[in-house]
Symmetry: C2
Subunit: 340 residues, 2 copies
DNA sequence: TAAATTTCCGAAAACGTTTTTGGAATCTGT
DNA sequence: ACAGATTCCAAAAACGTTTTCGGAAATTTA
């Protein structure tokens, strides 16, 4: 490994001059600089990031936590697309991404892990269980480490989050169903702990209310983003309400299960019952019939999140606020006018 | 940030003693050690990774390159599952993952990027264009940096790769088709540059030969893993050979396109024509009808790859060899006995 | 031409660790 | 009680940078 010393020796100057030359300081003779740059190229020199970060206290690295604390894997519903955006824009700004593996050997917290690695900021994209606000999250929030989360209401001096407009998205779905003439609309929600689940439920209720429909709490059931629970919830609704004509489901993956269950029970989609999902995952458009759904702009979310994070990193005085990304209703084949 | 110095001061010992105490050296008095550990806990101390890696020349970080050089994104067909395995086993061994963003600002190569960040090893999972062996790959291969790739035949002192047994997998598919009585079996391949594509083609040919069927090069077409090209290739076959009864396709995503095209042209799957894919991506099982395919064990591939990499890192004398993971034929609904 | 200014560069400290070396203190055996 | 062995620890160098400070040389100004 060729170091700054090697260059200094060859160029006949001091290491400090080499450093200044390579970092575009102004107080260095153009010819000297040229010689040094030339030498650096020849010797295939690249600065040692560890040494740099040691003195600068800047690593040009963004830490990423995802999945839950149990290290269960890359199972966020749209982890891929979000992280892809993050990677792209962070990359253009000169950052690399450090994926924490949560090695369970040492029981370090988010905060200590970040400090240990010296990341400039941290990006959180957690699933289910991770979303319970726990001490670790609070610690991180108060640590002063710049941090941005997806779908997880973090707020602090240097903390913020990005989410979809789940409330309005849900309302759009319900409005559309109402416009098709549906009156008995069941809701299969997520869980009781996530803000996201709450907002979608709230949007559902608001949509119905504004449409002049009374809310029947029997029509609201939770699927917990799990296949079995969703199936169960669907059956519960079906048994109690033979006259149901539409389902609004809080995630596409659950919506697909709902459709499956419906078909197993002899219903046709959308002829007998309409179904709307949420997320617009890949499978939604590939499914037969293609799923009508509320699309989350995953790329936009990722991009907004990382821009936000970089702003927090760069501007010491910036006081961040949450970013709410609009949703779009994507009409496909699982919705039809109500016949009853 | 509390450093080793703070602890030393408080404990009334030297920094070297603190370091030795914390790193389980034997020549330190049990009581001293206890006091130091206690203090470290109280002060919430964690070692600065940069400083550590500077002196140790070990970062406990594994670099990850994925996508092509154009920074096109996380588009490897099963990036997620492989990287999930990598993360899990690397995490248990104490490594974090550094995702290189290929910031195109500086035109650094794989090798310099790795040296700069001081990663202990590097993991490559590239798509299409990245697979052309280029100078960067050669440089990396010869750099002495431990490195393991997926589906990319890297070989060197400290380099290796993991792949599926594409040859045998393809043969299994053809054998199965032959067993169902099919004699006219078309092949939609990938491209001309990947070893993977070559092996699958070779397996197809071997399968036919062993079954006593003459190979008709008209039946072999490439889809280049693209929707349009695949559609085109399918139509070409269909036009020339009205009597075709089965397609073996080199990837699931292409197989799905083939099926779509078949249906558009009035064929039924599997009643008129059987189709077998390759990969077993998520959509394969969810498709109606569910796709018969050759499954690649993605988790196993990732796990084997990272184990291999860690072995190369740890054992200076270890001369690595490629790991070939078996494929499994998953019989679903797109294959049926030949009626002709 | 002397003084003032500017241009350019080197020395050295600092970042937070690990690791080598040597030595003081204690312990062991005789 | 003395030599030798053992136990424990401190000092210091090293890793590869950046950055501050000051100063010599060159240039400008008066």
């Amino acid at each position: 490994m060729t170091s700054i010393k090697d260059i200094a020796k060859r160029a006949g100057v001091s290491v400090s001059t080499v450093s200044r030359a390579l970092n575009n300081y102004q107080d260095v003779n153009p010819q000297t600089r040229e010689k040094i740059i030339q030498l650096a190229r020849e010797l295939n020199y690249f600065a040692n990031a560890a040494a740099k970060s040691l003195v600068q206290k800047r690593s040009y690295t963004i830490g990423v936590f995802f999945g839950d604390q149990m290290n269960s894997g890359f199972d966020h519903p749209f982890f891929l697309e979000v992280i892809s955006a993050v990677r792209e824009v962070a990359g253009n700004a000169g950052y690399d991404l450090l994926i924490f593996t949560n090695s369970n050997k040492n029981r370090a917290t988010y905060t200590t892990l970040c400090r240990e690695r010296g990341v400039d900021g941290v990006f959180l994209i957690l699933t289910g269980e991770g979303k319970k606000k726990n001490e670790q999250l609070v610690e991180l929030q108060e640590s002063g480490i710049p941090c941005v989360a997806i779908d997880l209401p973090l707020e602090g001096e240097r903390c913020s989050y990005v989410e979809s407009n789940n409330y309005l998205g849900a309302k759009k779905a319900v409005n559309y169903l109402l416009g098709l003439g549906h009156k008995k609309i069941a809701f299969i929600g997520g869980d009781e702990i996530g803000k996201l689940s709450f907002d979608r439920l709230y949007g559902y209720k608001a949509g119905l209310s504004e449409g002049g429909i009374e809310i029947d709490s029997d029509l609201v059931n939770l699927g917990y983003f799990s296949e079995e629970k969703t199936k169960e919830a669907t059956k519960t609704v079906l048994n109690k309400h033979k006259d149901i004509t539409a389902f609004f489901v809080a995630s596409d993956s659950m919506a697909l299960v709902v459709i499956e269950t419906l078909i197993e029970n002899g219903y046709r989609v959308p002829e007998d019952i309409s179904v709307i999902g949420f997320d617009d995952i890949k499978e939604a458009s590939q499914h037969k019939p293609a799923l009508t759904t509320v699309r989350q702009s995953k790329y936009v979310m990722g991009s907004e999140a990382i821009h936000l994070l970089m702003k927090i990193i760069d501007e010491a005085t910036y006081r961040p606020y949450p970013v709410v990304v609009p949703c779009e209703l994507i009409i496909r084949e699982t919705t039809a006018p109500c016949k009853k």
